[in-house]
Symmetry: C2
Subunit: 328 residues, 2 copies
């Protein structure tokens, strides 16, 4: 299967690792997806394994190489546009999130996707981390009964970000870029629709990162009066032992699960807070390939990819306009 | 110093332990503060040490015994009324929270308090737990710079609650009863005023506990765009190793502190997430006695006791009426 990589600003690593594991896939071309985007990061990840072509113009690449799959990881403001192109050239799309940075672009992409007959999967690779994967299996098995409350956390080191992070237009905002993962977890765990959103965000103390919001907080109400919180920050100190500190606490009618410190803890009638052995979640790109080949379904669906993006953009709107947003 | 105990529905243990430690205090009388309230819990805690009188009518007790201090821990809906009586009879007041269950009663109490010349302290005893006390000292010492984001959690076992918990009128609501502690922490740690509040709560799955809300979520914005979340639930499983699971995460411009599992963890330029040795926080009632005797100031002030109550009642209003509440 022929794969092209467009852009090097997102988590192309998921695809590169997956392609190594898959063996029946080959990267035939790479090109930037945004103006001024360097492909050095991708090329250094590929090293000597790369036998394909390097393009300046991704559209020319798609035309000339007709890849089966486009991996899209350009500046976030260009993702929707590049995805639309890739689908139009008949590619399946493995794409960085958010799928779009405006609701208008999201609708355009949705229409093109729905008429394409192709597969699409957003890079919600965190689902495959053993701690989240294990927690999800526990919930699906009924370990905590009905979910009533979820607390999620995304905390990153800021470091020194590239220029495109500093403008809302190219970056999209911290809720859509960072927070969307937790929005995905909430929907993935509950299978419930979001009914209302209230969010706030702040650019204060962002160390000369322009528009980039360095803290954010979201409050979601799902169907059946299920509540979910999402705390986001870029204030994780440089001295911390990891780049990110992802957490999730799921409170059900019959138990509580904590995903914290990359571990899973369970309290229910059989457990009093013990650590649960972790299962291997696999690789998201390999999972997506399975879907394309008709050998199974990918854990991350296109529907979920669109929905999490929509919720993230509406949460950003809530924070921008300081209002509660209601959903049908 | 003469102490009377009114009611046995709250955390009278703080006072009973403090009195044991203080030695110059004596419990001279006990009486219920609410209709139908049994004093058995208090009497069994006091056992043979109790040399005072048992009354049916707390007002008669206050009149006859003229105590220096009234410990008020009746049904929550009666707290304001009993506090007003106690102040009127010239007592200092050590009282269960919330100080009132309606904003009207809170204002009445505030006026009586301000004209009384007496001391008042709400039972925010959790501040004195070593993990919260230690975290607070770290923040005050500048260990994490300026606070930008706080996540708090109150999780309790529901068990089988007394009848008065089942009516809003006598119980007051879960945000004012349980959530108020975390509201207190937020104000205590930041010294910042609350500018807006959005909250939700739900009675679903409350196991026949009438009006009692079993889950709640609050979203606060403080001065300077500081955000704070508060997650509350009564869904802690019976099998959990403790009644409560209190947590707090404080994110600053120079570090992050976690108060979790009754421990404190710090990341800043000197620490990469290590556990910090705990300091002894002492006893809240002993601290209050020190204040009364003019030997120092109590860590919990009357101003804070009133303010946390006001915020908790406004958060309940936000949840009841599904609206953002703005504060001046």
């Amino acid at each position: 299967m022929k794969v092209c990589i467009i852009g090097s600003s997102g988590h192309v690593g998921y695809a590169i690792e997956g392609i190594k594991a898959a063996k029946d896939c080959e990267i035939v071309g790479v090109a930037p997806g945004s103006e001024g985007e360097s492909m050095d990061k991708v090329l250094s990840m590929l090293r000597d394994n790369f036998k394909g072509k390097i393009y300046d113009d991704y559209e020319l690449m798609l035309k000339e190489l007709s890849p089966d799959i486009a991996v899209v990881a350009c500046h976030f403001g260009d993702i929707a546009k590049v995805n639309i192109k890739a689908l139009s050239y008949g590619c399946h799309v493995f794409t960085e999130k958010p799928l779009a940075t405006t609701l208008e672009d999201l609708e355009k992409l949705r229409k093109v996707y729905e008429n394409s007959g192709k597969r699409l999967c957003a890079m919600f690779g965190i689902r495959y981390r053993p701690w989240f994967f294990t927690a999800h299996k526990l919930v699906e098995s009924g370990a905590i009964g009905e979910i009533r409350l979820i607390n999620t956390q995304k905390s990153y080191k800021l470091g020194k970000r590239e220029e495109f992070y500093k403008q809302r237009e190219s970056y999209g905002g911290t809720i859509p870029w960072v927070g969307i993962h937790a929005i995905d977890w909430i929907y993935w765990f509950t299978h419930k629709k979001f009914k209302s959103i209230y969010a706030t965000h702040s650019r204060k103390y962002n160390k000369d990162h322009g528009d980039l919001e360095v803290t954010a907080l979201c409050h979601f109400t799902l169907e059946d009066e299920i509540f979910a919180s999402l705390s986001i920050d870029y204030l994780r100190p440089e001295n911390a032992p990891s780049h990110d500190d992802d957490r999730m606490r799921i409170v059900g009618t019959k138990g509580v699960i904590d995903v914290i410190f990359n571990k899973v803890f369970l309290i229910n009638k059989d457990y009093s807070g013990q650590e649960i052995p972790l299962e291997d979640g696999g690789n998201i790109f390999v999972d997506f390939l399975k879907d394309i080949k008709g050998e199974g379904s990918c854990m991350v669906t296109a529907e979920e990819s669109f929905y999490a993006t929509e919720i993230a953009l509406k949460a950003r709107e809530s924070a921008d306009e300081n209002k509660i947003i209601y959903l049908p």
